[in-house]
């Protein structure tokens, strides 16, 4: 027997594989494909305090070994989530991590408070890759000072394990991780999607109504692995690594680079059983290499 259990800032996961926000709905959508209680944790679609309509279509376009999305953070809002989606998740033996965001510090705080009070949410992941309405729409997670204010405020609003999800659209991601750590985050997760564009040369229009979108999938994996490694060198708190993980081998790259857990996103679309295959593939790897505990490989990169 190998031990796959890991600890993410106080949150004990039976194994290191979680779903990436926005790619797994609220769980029910995928429950017909496998037993979702087998997940390390579920991270639900990003929630704002009030519901959001999202962007006009087209919202998706495929690119080489990846995809651009501009969903525009459409979601049902915290209240409806608690009323309609959480009761189902509470019936499961499953760690629930609520991903949330806001367009102002107040909105972040209100969402965090409501999700903390609801009961049945085991951890919070705050998405800071969204623009701040009150500060000229600058993205919270791309400016250390703005990020400091919002993480500090949310930290005061919740006693749940707090994971700060970092944007890759920055010059020094290690620095941003350090800001999160200094503000009291229990963990960081990375990477969110990388901003990209794809143009139809005949119409000379973007293939997305929103013009730009977020790139995910295997195309971003080497960048994500490098960023996890940089963050691992910069902070002590645990890291959830993600970006283009399709297989157990991919997931293990992230863990060797320094991630204590991994998130699987786009892969769910290609193979709805991807997460299950990744968990069992990790187990096989440990057995083959005679490693008893997955924690032994975290950050074990030889340089």
């Amino acid at each position: 027997m190998v031990n796959l259990a890991v600890n993410i800032g106080g949150l004990k996961l039976p194994n290191p594989v979680v779903t990436a926000s926005g790619t797994f709905g609220y769980g029910q959508e995928y429950s017909e494909f496998f037993d979702i209680e087998k997940l390390g944790a579920i991270v639900v679609k990003g929630l704002s305090y009030s519901p959001r309509q999202g962007n006009p279509p087209p919202r998706l376009v495929e690119t080489p070994a990846g995809m651009l999305n501009a969903i525009g953070l459409q979601n049902i809002g915290v209240e409806t989530f608690i009323k309609d989606k959480l009761p189902y998740l509470r019936t499961l033996k499953l760690n629930v991590i609520a991903n949330f965001f806001g367009d102002s510090i107040d909105e972040y705080v209100m969402a965090a408070e409501a999700l903390t009070k609801a009961g049945g949410v085991h951890g919070l992941e705050m998405n800071i890759s969204c623009p701040n309405k009150k500060a000229g729409w600058i993205v919270f997670g791309t400016d250390p000072a703005v990020m400091k204010d919002v993480v500090t405020a949310v930290r005061k609003a919740t006693d749940l394990p707090l994971i700060v999800k970092l944007s890759p659209n920055v010059t020094d991601i290690g620095l941003m991780a350090k800001v999160a750590e200094d503000c009291g985050a229990d963990a960081v997760s990375l990477i969110n999607t990388i901003t990209g564009m794809c143009i139809d040369i005949n119409s000379r229009r973007s293939k997305l109504a929103n013009v730009t979108g977020g790139l995910s999938g295997p195309a971003i994996r080497p960048i994500a692995v490098r960023m996890v490694w940089e963050v691992h060198k910069a902070v002590m708190i645990p890291i959830i690594g993600m970006g283009g993980i399709m297989t157990a081998q991919d997931a293990l790259e992230f863990m060797i680079a320094g991630a204590s857990a991994v998130s699987v996103g786009t892969a769910n679309f290609i193979n709805p059983q991807a997460v299950i295959e990744i968990i069992s593939g990790m187990e096989d790897y440990l057995k083959e290499h005679g490693i008893a505990n997955i924690n032994e490989i975290i950050g074990s990169l030889k340089t």
């Binding site: 790619t23 279509p57 087209p58 919202r59 679309f269 059983q273």
Partner: protein, 254 residues
Amino acid sequence: MSRFFKAEITGVKLLNADFCILDIKPQGSHDTPLPGQFYMLQSISCYDPLLKRPFSIFRSTDDTLSFLFRIRGKATQILSRLNTGDVIDVIGPLGSSYPEPEGDFVAVAGGVGVASLYNLIEKYKGRAHFFYGAKTKEELVLVDNIRSLSKELTLVTQDCSCGVGGLVTDACADAICVTDSMLKGLHVYACGPNPMLKALNTRLAGKGVNCYVSLEENMACGVGACLGCVVKGINEYKRVCKEGPVFSMDEIQW
């Protein structure tokens, strides 16, 4: 029964340079699809193309699912070159279906939109007034089969190379809008490019017909999780893969 399964390719037939029929045999048990539903088909096991592509069910038997598609880009090209015996991953049947028609009904197909309506007219043989349009004669496929399954078939081409010249929506609306009483409660089913469905709405909205349209959007998950495939409904965005692909015409903001 899982809606995620492996299937063996049992037939790949090119109807001409642009249209292909793919037959697959699901391994293990699978759900029976309803007309209008669709499947996500994998084209290749490496990462380009990455995502599965949506295709309407064209025909189905106990052990075979068939798809009729137009070769457009990478994925459809690869699918048209698969060999019998190859195995692909499939998710389905997915989405909503065409509601059951009452009595005779009208079907309007534009181009490869004929794929999903074929399944409907085969299930309700001899009851469809079928309007089938395309840009040119070459793009009209399976005409003899469609004629034998329909009560009446009207062919329409934009370049006037076959049948009625012009747009299929006009041919259809001109034929059925003779009197308002004829339209009350009539079931109309339409599948084709968006501008065609929009034109149909312009001609038929508010006339008391029960019109059902099958819509397309780019998809990633196919199961309602990613919110990538939405179209504008009257009050909110609707997911083509979950609330659709078949919508009542008056649910959509045209």
